[in-house]
Structure formats: structure tokens, C-alpha cells
């Protein structure tokens, strides 16, 4: 019997798709698919490194998309969740989609389908949260700058939203956890990595990096936030449910609370 293989890829989504291509093409027994950053040898399986090939990745992407638009979205979103072992789960999901009796993406009574759709949903929720919770601060150089620290790697997902909304201002959104960011230069969005001296959250201490007006506007926003409460209806539980505490340090209106 052929031994099961562990495939190692470079940690990119295209790398993962190439791996899927290889597994299908060579009809491999897959024990696991791992990113080269966190690979671990198995006792009874051999490992093989897969090099990313854009054309193969593209073919997998198109193949899945031809099956279903929901499927490709679910796969990309849940991949971005970065959950441990997500690659193997996704591989099994893709196998199901291409099986002789294909499983539908709407068959929620299948536990794998349900899991992927729920995972995609929580990544989608994080994406939406980031579209809401990014707080730009205007720097001296006239760039609107924001630090974020999302649960999942949602930067690729929110790029389009910010690009089409803030078309006439330069902005940077920088993910502190994953150490990369997006920079919009009035024409296109670039991926950048910065050597940040500190994390720019909602600190009360004024920083020279930002323009003087910036803090005046933050004060105005803080005041506005305070004056919108209706005292007799206070409901802190609901408040923290909508704005979980882990996001507070980047929200200027929660300055006092942190």
C-alpha cells in the first residue's frame, strides 16, 4: 500500500491551491497539508515540499468557482481563519465537492459543510467588524493611518472596501499581529511592512507623528460618543457584546475606558 504523504507548502493561499492540484493529479494519499512555518513530521508518513505554481493554483480556483461561487468564497474565507489544520479540512471539503456524488455547499446536515460555512461566516464577521472599527489618525505627512489587530487575517478582504470608499486620501491600515499592512497611494493598494516603533492605539498621550488637529477631532468624537447615551436605558452587557473588549484599545471613543 502506498504510504500517506504530508505535503508542505509555502503558507500562501496559492501555495495551498497548488498542493490541492498536486494531490488530485497524482492521486495522493494525504495525511496532512502543512505550512512550512509550522510543519511537523509524522511517524508513518513521508513529507514532500510543494512549490507554488500560479497556473496550477489558478486552475484549482477556476475549477471550484465553476462548481459554485459560494464554495470558492467559503474556501477562501475559512482559509484566512488560519485555524490549525484548516488545510486538511479544506482539502476534504474540496474532495467532497468533486466526488462522483458531489456534496452541495448548502447541505447543512453534512457536518463538514456546516463547519466550513460557519468558519467562513466568522471570518466574514471579522471582516465586517474591521470595516467598522478601523480608526484612522491623520499623520503629519497627511496620511490616514490605522493599526488593527484582527482575530483573522482579513486585510486582503477589506482592501477593496477601503479603496473604493477613501479614493481621494492616502491611507495605511497596518495589522500589528501579522506584521504587514496596506498602503493606498491614491492610485492602487500596495502591501507594505513597516518597522513600527510602537503600536498606535487610542493613547491619551499626544504623539508627534500625528497632526495637532487630529487630537481635536478625537476629542470631538469622544464627546459625541458620550452625548449619544440615554442614561435611563444603559445596557453595558449589550454594549460589550457589540463592541468586544479586545477591540477597545484601537477605538478612540473608548480612550477613557481602557
Amino acid at each position: 500500500m502506498e504510504t500517506a504523504k504530508i505535503l508542505i507548502y509555502d503558507g500562501s493561499f496559492n501555495g495551498f491551491l497548488t498542493t490541492v492540484f498536486k494531490a488530485f493529479e497524482e492521486r495522493l494519499q494525504i495525511a496532512d497539508i502543512q505550512s512550512n512555518a509550522i510543519c511537523q513530521n509524522g511517524l508513518f508518513s513521508e513529507t514532500e515540499t510543494v512549490f507554488t505554481q500560479m497556473d496550477k493554483a489558478k486552475r484549482v480556483w477556476n475549477g471550484i468557482q465553476a462548481k459554485s461561487n459560494v464554495a470558492i468564497k467559503n474556501i477562501y474565507f475559512s482559509y484566512l481563519s488560519g485555524q490549525r489544520g484548516i488545510e486538511l479540512i479544506l482539502y476534504r471539503y474540496i474532495r467532497k465537492l468533486f466526488a462522483k456524488m458531489p456534496t452541495s455547499t448548502s447541505d447543512f446536515s453534512d457536518s463538514l459543510v456546516l463547519k466550513i460555512s460557519q468558519l467562513a461566516k466568522s471570518v466574514g464577521r471579522e471582516k465586517h467588524r474591521m470595516e467598522a472599527f478601523v480608526r484612522f489618525q491623520l499623520t503629519q505627512d497627511g496620511i490616514y493611518f490605522a493599526n488593527i489587530e484582527p482575530d483573522f487575517d482579513v486585510l486582503p478582504l477589506i482592501s477593496k472596501h477601503f479603496r473604493s470608499r477613501y479614493a481621494d486620501q492616502e491611507w495605511i491600515i497596518y495589522d500589528v499581529k501579522r506584521k504587514y499592512g496596506l498602503y493606498y497611494n491614491l492610485k492602487s493598494v500596495e502591501i507594505i511592512s513597516l518597522d513600527l516603533q510602537e503600536v498606535y492605539g487610542n493613547s491619551i498621550r499626544k504623539n508627534d507623528t500625528f497632526s495637532g488637529e487630529e487630537y481635536a477631532y478625537q476629542d470631538l468624537w469622544n464627546d459625541y460618543f458620550k452625548s449619544t447615551h440615554i442614561k435611563s436605558r444603559i445596557n453595558r452587557k449589550l454594549h460589550t457584546q457589540h463592541v468586544p473588549k479586545r477591540y477597545w484599545k484601537y477605538l478612540s471613543e473608548k480612550k477613557q475606558a481602557v
Partner: protein, 420 residues
């Protein structure tokens, strides 16, 4: 611009605007034009939440809180002794743009007290919107208040710049309006509403023929009613709401539990409880009417003029109509599934999809996410176990309440706590 002065004004005018419930920024489609600022994509975004748990998605301010009217329920009424302030047009525009650029808000919600005359006030509101759209090339969301009694010409222009227009009807009954706002006539409210509705209908029709027809209030119009200020019943409120939904094609009717703001013999006194549970039940009813295919007469009628505070309106209806149940999850049509207590529209869609592949059992239903603590008494599925169905409505209600938890439970529980 002097930040200190702006700050003071913002505090006064945002504080007065907070009793307007509507903060939605959805339902409009405005793309970013010519590399300008902003868009509104159709789905709303709540950028923050107040400590009472309401969404903050728009910069909600009054242009001024000077007012010539003396409506008893309103903070800015003429006779109330409070600080007054007024924004200049440019100040509102600058604030909106600066907040928007920092991703604090989705756009502007501009309301106003009525100074000099309705038309004079409406003109100012329109001027703010015009400047944002034409001069600043701002494509974010704008919600303007239609001032009761404003002229048709102004309402027409307002709709060209705004995404949504709204008039707050505030008091659901005409007799209540006479009691609390004697200077205002019911017609003053309905006239701008009617104009806006007619324009929306006309623009939609023309757009089908001539594509370059400008959009007119693409997110429609909404209104708001105060709950618990006069002695109106739930039936009065919901029948009025149904009227506005059908006659004026409202996108939304909001219900706002009355927050006592003044000592007045005609109104609940300061410090009395805000009727939040009642507000919640009214919203539930509103949803049942708009999305679940219920008719208002099924939920509220002569025999039942008020909603049951202990259970949600759908469960209340089911308990009165036990002859429709149990429903078979694997065969029932969509309309009937939507009427089962504990099954929301999302679950309905999931059930419809999932049951194409296999017969659903309790396990599946639980995973799909339906509230079995209520639903189990009203359904059968692919399982040999089901609940006894010969329960009396009262027994059933008691059983469900016993096995569920509600956030408002302490408001209506007559049972004393044994501990603490």
C-alpha cells in the same frame, strides 16, 4: 475654526438628537464618483455602539435646538429651559467630512428644531446636503428630516441629495397628538410624506425608461412613534404602523419607548421606567409583519388589543392557534415553517435547503440553530421521539417559560426570588 465653540455646540446638539432612534445606513446604492470621498454600498456599517447598546453609524445632530413649537414629549420644546445652540452650515459640513475621513461614521443624520418657519428650517437642511454632495463630492449616506409643513419644492430638492428622508409621526393617534402637540396638525406630518412617496414612485418609473434619471431618496423614507407617552394600545400602534407601511411605502417604522424628559401632567413622570420590553415586543411584531408573512389582524385584534409581555408575539399567536400544529419539518411549506415559534427566517432557509438531501432529525435541527426549547412543542421531524401534543395552551406556556431565560424576565416575573 474654533474647536472649543464647536465642541460646546456638538455636545448640546448631539444630546438633543439622540432620541431619534433611526441610525440605519443601509439600503442605498451610491458609488464613489470621480475619485471623490465615500460611498454607501447597500449594507450598513455600525461603527460603534452607545452604552445603551444602540448602533452609532451616522453623525446624528440637530442643526439647531431653537424651536417655535411646544410639544410636550420633546426636549427641545419652546417652554423647556435648556441651553440653546445652532450650527452654521459650514460647521456641519466640516464635521461630517472630518469624521468620515477617519472612518468614524457612515454619513450624516441631520434633524432640526423648527425656527422661524418650517420652510426656513428645511431650506437650511437642504443647503447642508447640497454642499456635501455638490461641493465636497461626498458620496456617503445622508439622512435628512422632513420638517412637518415644509413645501413640496423643498422636499423635492431634499430627495435629490439625501439617501433617506423621514418625518417622525411621534404620536400614533390623532387624539394623542391634539393633547400633546396642540400647535401641530396631523396633515403637517403626512403632507411631506406623501410628496416623498409620490416622487420615489415617479423616479423609479422614469428610471426604467430614461437611465439618466437622478436617484431620489434611494433608501426610502422612515418614521418613528413614541411608545407609552399617551395611553395608546399595542393595537393602535401596530395598525398605525401597518397604515404607514402600506400607504406611504415606508422602509421602516421605528418604535421608541418614551424616555420622560419633562414634568407634565399629561405624561408619565420623570423617573418612570422606560417601556423597553414593550418596545421589544413591538419590534418583534413589526418583523413578523414584514418578513414572516403575518397579517396584523392575526396578532392584534379586538380580543387581543395588547401583546403578551411574557412570551414573544409569534409564540403568543401559536398558543392561540394550536390547531395549526404540529408541523412536519420535512414536508411543511415555507410559509408554515416561518410560523413555528423558535424558527427564524435564516433557519427556515437552512431547513429548506438541508431537507433536499436527507430527512432532518432533532440532531440536525439543533445544529442548524433553531431554538428547540420553544420549537419542540410545535414540530415533528424524522425521529420517533416527539413532545406530547395534548397540552393545554396555558400549561404549554408555563412549561416554555420555565425552561427558557429572557433578558427582560425580571420586569414581569411576579414570583419573588428565594435567594438575594
Amino acid at each position: 475654526m474654533s474647536f472649543e465653540r464647536i465642541r460646546e455646540k456638538l455636545n448640546i446638539l448631539a444630546d438633543a438628537a439622540k432620541y431619534d432612534v433611526s441610525c440605519s445606513s443601509s439600503g442605498s446604492k451610491r458609488a464613489n464618483k470621480n475619485g471623490g470621498l465615500g460611498n454607501s454600498s447597500g449594507m450598513g456599517i455600525c461603527h460603534s455602539y452607545t452604552e445603551d447598546g444602540r448602533c452609532i453609524s451616522l453623525l446624528k445632530v440637530l442643526l439647531t435646538n431653537y424651536c417655535i413649537f411646544d410639544c410636550a414629549y420633546c426636549v427641545t420644546r419652546k417652554s423647556n429651559d435648556i441651553k440653546r445652540a445652532a450650527f452654521k452650515i459650514q460647521e456641519v459640513v466640516d464635521l461630517t467630512i472630518s469624521f468620515y475621513r477617519r472612518n468614524y461614521i457612515e454619513g450624516l443624520f441631520l434633524s432640526s428644531g423648527i425656527f422661524k418657519s418650517p420652510d426656513y428650517t428645511m431650506e437650511r437642511l437642504v443647503a447642508v446636503a447640497r454642499q456635501l454632495r455638490l461641493k465636497e463630492n461626498f458620496n456617503g449616506y445622508i439622512h435628512l428630516k422632513s420638517i412637518p409643513g415644509a413645501s413640496d419644492e423643498l422636499m423635492y430638492e431634499a430627495g435629490l441629495y439625501a439617501d433617506r428622508l423621514s418625518v417622525n409621526i411621534e404620536i400614533p393617534t390623532i387624539s394623542g397628538l391634539q393633547l400633546l402637540a396642540p400647535d401641530k396638525r396631523h396633515e403637517d406630518f403626512t403632507k411631506p410624506m406623501l410628496k416623498v412617496k409620490n416622487e420615489i414612485v415617479r423616479h423609479r418609473a422614469e428610471k426604467k425608461v430614461i437611465r439618466s434619471t437622478p436617484t431620489y431618496a434611494p433608501a426610502g423614507q422612515s418614521t418613528q412613534m413614541i411608545v407609552g407617552a399617551t395611553g395608546e394600545s399595542d393595537k393602535d400602534i401596530m395598525y398605525a404602523a401597518t397604515h404607514y407601511y402600506s400607504e406611504y411605502r415606508m422602509k421602516r417604522v421605528y418604535y421608541s419607548g418614551y424616555v420622560p424628559v419633562a414634568e407634565d401632567s399629561r405624561l408619565p413622570s420623570i423617573g418612570s421606567q422606560v417601556p423597553m420590553l414593550r418596545e421589544n415586543r413591538l419590534y418583534q411584531t413589526d418583523w413578523l409583519l414584514r418578513f414572516y408573512g403575518f397579517d396584523v389582524r392575526e396578532l392584534l385584534n379586538k380580543q387581543h388589543p395588547n401583546l403578551d409581555m411574557e412570551v414573544d408575539p409569534k409564540l403568543g399567536w401559536a398558543l392561540r392557534n394550536l390547531h395549526h400544529f404540529p408541523v412536519d419539518i420535512n414536508t411543511a411549506d415555507k410559509r408554515l415553517l416561518a410560523r413555528v415559534p423558535g424558527i427564524g427566517m435564516q433557519s427556515v432557509h437552512r431547513i429548506l435547503k438541508a431537507r433536499q438531501y436527507r430527512q432532518l432529525s432533532w440532531e440536525h435541527l439543533k445544529k442548524i440553530g433553531i431554538a428547540l426549547n420553544r420549537a419542540q412543542y410545535f414540530i415533528v421531524c424524522n425521529s420517533r421521539h416527539w413532545q406530547r401534543k395534548d397540552l393545554e395552551p396555558e400549561t404549554l406556556k408555563g412549561l416554555i417559560i420555565k425552561n427558557s431565560q429572557g433578558k427582560f424576565r425580571q420586569h414581569y416575573s411576579s414570583q419573588l426570588r428565594l435567594f438575594n
